[in-house]
Symmetry: C2
Subunit: 119 residues, 2 copies
Amino acid sequence: MDARVRTGLLYDFYGPLLTERQRRFVELYFGEDLSLGEIAAEFRVSRQAVHDILHRSEMALEAFEAKLGLLKAYQRREALRGRLLELLERLKAEGLTPAQEETVKEITALVEAMGREGD
Amino acid sequence: MDARVRTGLLYDFYGPLLTERQRRFVELYFGEDLSLGEIAAEFRVSRQAVHDILHRSEMALEAFEAKLGLLKAYQRREALRGRLLELLERLKAEGLTPAQEETVKEITALVEAMGREGD
């Protein structure tokens, strides 16, 4: 996984545990794609200071992941969910009664809801 | 939910974020059901000190839950999972081809694995 994408995902899980300043810098750099220089100018701090805060934020996010493993658990759940959706498709391929079709539709909707849950 | 049970569940999710001492006291009090006095005697501290550390631990666990909501998300996932298992039972009740039965069995196993995942 791309390091930027990984940081973005870790931020989705652990962002609320960062400090207000860390959150702001991470959102601007990773979310809105501002450069170090642009963030430095906006907050009237040095480019180095922005770099340090972002670096510490990434270390903090990785430390939370090492302890709680939410990203890893999410990825495992997503893999299971993908497999479930495949199997539900296979079930429909062989012909079902109308009542069974309704049930499979409901199951599929729940499996999809589980994915939004994990976000 | 019983406060003791809730603290136990929150500890399952956020235990790694507590300090070493907090973890030990929470495990002895909530996990092994030792009394404040017993923990105090074991660690040669006052009963009040044990009480304070346990209280701070509970506050910390609730603060993590307020920020990350892992227990809430888990409960929602468990409710969805329970509903999924019901629907899978309903599907089997109406008669399926042997191949479909195999598929439903595989789906059920995955849904059950998702539960262990969330633990």
